[in-house]
């Protein structure tokens, strides 16, 4: 296990919600709610999750744009949240960011040489050979023609602009690059080039990446380790192969099942044909019993021929102002209602049909009351390919009371 270059401990970022005449704080958007992770030197940690899960906020805290509400961010063992102004400026040389949208991340009124050379101007650095030469070298490093230094961003394509953004981030020779969805705004063909560039730079410069994305395929390609976020918390974390091939958290399983498969014929493979996910059935059975929602229509198909249906999570993510009690995912969890623990109260005080939430979902009470810790679940069974421990910075941990690999009901029968 390599020594971590970046360590985050119990990081919390709350945005106060103010209301009324006196601007009193009436609550907080819990954008990041107790996140811990570590990034090894020269490694890539992929951070995935749906919109609003706090990925970008976490990234912004790490590069120092936002100050955390509490928690520690350790770069090379030094807590940067306690640094003074000068120390923070130094930190900015160690941690830099690549932005999502190459069309807004470059100032349209500055030439490429001004943009890439700005870090030198800000920090008063005069690199050997002069700033002009240094800018030219940086442009060459990211695969751009140094002769284009006097051009303006609008004269470049999206992929080229993203390269300019990467060159700017590399100017201060950072140790860590936080990439906030660096390829999601690019054409698929250009995505590959930029990803390859990032991988090449990692080998060449020994960079560590925190790679924020919602594209699971891209993350699988570039990341060594993967962390899955939901509602400001990490719900599953581990080496890429284990998380992808043996996901244990129902949310991760749902995310993976939603990855589009380019080949239509694959979508109808029989059960067991492709390891990652088989589902729709488990949700379907419970929905079918209740038959209160329209999802039941898909179940009829699902019961006979097992389809590789995506797990469809119902509803929107809960508001981060008022997250659900206990496990934050229990309101949308597809697994919890299917568990034997999800029984109605043993002593019903009134007929079940009269209950106000009669048509609603029942989940195990532990999901509603207890926040699951991020623990390893070795008993759940590893994937067929055990990962070399030396290669993995983090062990596979899951925040779920009932974490287990996906079991498809009926397959064993």
């Amino acid at each position: 296990m390599t020594e971590p270059v970046l360590e985050v401990r119990d990081l919390v970022k709350h945005y106060p919600v103010r209301n009324g005449l006196l601007r009193r704080s009436v609550g907080a958007v819990k954008a990041v709610d107790g996140v811990s992770l570590s990034l090894g030197r020269g490694r890539t940690l992929g951070l995935v999750g749906e919109s609003g899960s706090g990925k970008s906020t976490l990234a912004r805290v790490l590069v120092g744009i936002e100050t955390p509400t509490s928690g520690e961010v350790l770069v090379d063992g030094e807590d940067v949240t306690r640094l003074n102004r000068a120390g923070r400026k130094q930190l900015r040389r160690d941690v830099q960011m690549v932005f999502q949208d190459p069309y807004t991340s470059l100032n349209p009124r500055m030439s490429v040489s001004e943009i890439v050379g700005e870090p030198f101007a800000i920090h008063g650095i005069d690199p050997a050979g002069g700033r002009r030469t240094a800018v030219g070298e940086l442009l060459e490093l990211v695969g751009l023609d140094p002769d284009h230094a006097n051009r303006y961003p609008h004269q470049f394509s999206g992929g080229q602009r993203q390269r300019v953004g990467i060159a700017r981030a590399l100017a201060l020779r950072p140790k860590i690059l936080v990439c906030d969805e660096p390829v999601s705004a690019l054409d698929v063909s250009v995505q590959g080039q930029v990803i390859n560039l990032l991988e090449g730079l990692q080998d060449e410069l020994g960079l560590s990446y925190l790679f924020v994305a919602h594209d699971l395929g891209v993350v699988r390609h570039i990341a060594h380790d993967v962390a899955v976020m939901y509602l400001g918390r990490i719900v599953e974390e581990g080496p890429e192969t284990e998380v992808y091939d043996a996901a244990q958290h129902p949310y991760t399983q749902a995310l993976l099942s939603a990855v589009p498969v380019p080949d239509p014929s694959v979508r109808l493979v029989p059960a067991g044909g492709s390891p990652p996910v088989e589902s729709g059935v488990s949700t379907g059975s419970t929905n079918g019993e209740r038959s209160t929602n329209g999802v039941g229509s898909t179940n009829g198909v699902g019961t006979t021929a097992v389809r590789r249906l995506p797990i469809v999570l119902e509803g929107d993510p809960p508001s981060p102002v008022d997250p659900p009690s206990g496990c934050p995912f229990h309101t949308r969890c597809w697994l919890a209602p299917t568990l034997p623990e999800a029984q109605p109260d043993p002593i019903p005080s009134y007929p079940p049909t009269d209950r106000p939430d009669a048509g609603l979902r029942l989940v195990p009470s532990v999901c509603e009351t207890e926040v699951p810790a991020l623990d390893a679940h070795p008993g759940a069974g590893r994937a067929g390919t055990p990962t070399d421990p030396a290669d993995s910075a983090a062990s596979h941990v899951v925040a779920c009371h009932f974490a287990r690999e996906l079991i498809v009901p009926g397959v064993g029968a």
Binding site: T104, P108, E118, P119, I122, Q155, S157
Partner: protein, 309 residues
């Protein structure tokens, strides 16, 4: 990469050495409307600095017997006629250009600096800075400026400001600046709010740039656009407003003359058969303002890298 290259620069050899300023100069030089406007502006600036080049007559040498003479054409005694007091119109025009243009320059310049600074600070920092700036804008918008002008008049009534070119325009400059900065502040605040959340500002912050650097290198250049469109019309507004103030006695101090006073005096004689008294100064004002509009637009376009390619 090559398609961008060929589109941007026909002459690849000079591509590296060309800067935005030389590009701007090149494109401006080729536009006839820009050249004409520049000539007009230079003409009036020369007139303001050296009025005696254009007339040898004293503008205050007025003989009531010569009143209301129509333009006689150049080479005669009164090339552009006389006004209702018998003063030579050409002489007044030439000598009136200095206070008018100086006033417009001072007022718009000062108001621009105040408005842009306050708008930038309010939009960038928000919070209590924004609270105070926004309330100040509202207060100054609500106060009727003529009322305030009269108040200032009584305050400065007995103050001797001297008789230099600057002193003659001091009072109207103060009043007009005081009530002229709010528009800029509002426009700049609004576009700063929009510009400051863009990724390139965040990127600069992540690099450790100071607030000043972010404001002046990243936010302001991208937020100033809407304001530049206000400036030429504001100049016309100042020259017109000065004429109104002249009525109250706090305009350009007599015996100095201004275009505003000429327009004010001449407007009452348009229907009396002497339209030249209005048309002569008005034409000069319009020519100045239109030239500034054309120059301002052309300059803004030329300095925007997105439009030059």
């Amino acid at each position: 990469m090559s398609e961008a290259a060929s589109a941007a620069t026909g002459n690849a050899a000079g591509a590296a050495s060309r800067t935005l300023a030389t590009d701007a100069w090149r494109s401006l030089r080729r536009r006839p409307d820009v050249i004409i406007s520049a000539v007009i502006i230079v003409f009036f600036v020369v007139m303001a600095v050296f009025p005696t080049l254009f007339t040898s007559v004293d503008p205050r040498h007025c003989i009531i017997g010569d009143a209301k003479i129509k333009p006689q054409g150049f080479g005669n005694e009164f090339p552009l006629g006389t006004d209702s007091f018998g003063c030579d119109t050409l002489a007044q025009l030439a000598h009136g250009s200095r206070p008018s243009l100086l006033l417009a320059l001072v007022v718009v310049g000062t108001a621009l600096v105040i408005g842009v600074t306050l708008g930038l600070l309010a939009g960038y920092y928000l919070g209590w800075v924004d609270f105070f700036v926004s309330r100040a804008v509202e207060v100054f918008l609500v106060i009727p400026y003529l009322l305030a002008a009269m108040l200032l008049l009584s305050l400065f009534k007995n103050v001797d400001l001297g008789s230099g070119a600057f002193a003659t325009i001091m009072l109207p400059a103060i009043v007009l600046t005081l009530f002229g900065w709010m528009g800029y502040a509002r426009y700049v605040r609004a576009s700063v709010l929009e510009a400051k959340n863009l990724d390139y500002v965040t990127a600069a912050r992540a690099l450790g740039a100071s607030d000043l650097r972010i404001m002046f290198r990243h936010v302001l250049p991208n937020a100033i656009g809407p304001v530049t469109a206000l400036v030429p019309t504001a100049i016309a507004g100042v020259i017109g407003a000065e004429a109104v103030l002249a009525f109250l006695g706090i305009g350009v101090r007599p015996p100095a003359i201004s275009w505003g006073i000429m327009i004010e005096n001449g407007s009452s004689w348009v229907l009396g058969g002497y339209p030249h008294m209005l048309l002569v100064p008005l034409t000069c004002l319009l020519a100045t303002v239109l030239s500034l509009v054309v120059l301002g637009d052309a300059l803004r376009d030329a300095l925007d890298p997105r439009l030059t390619a």
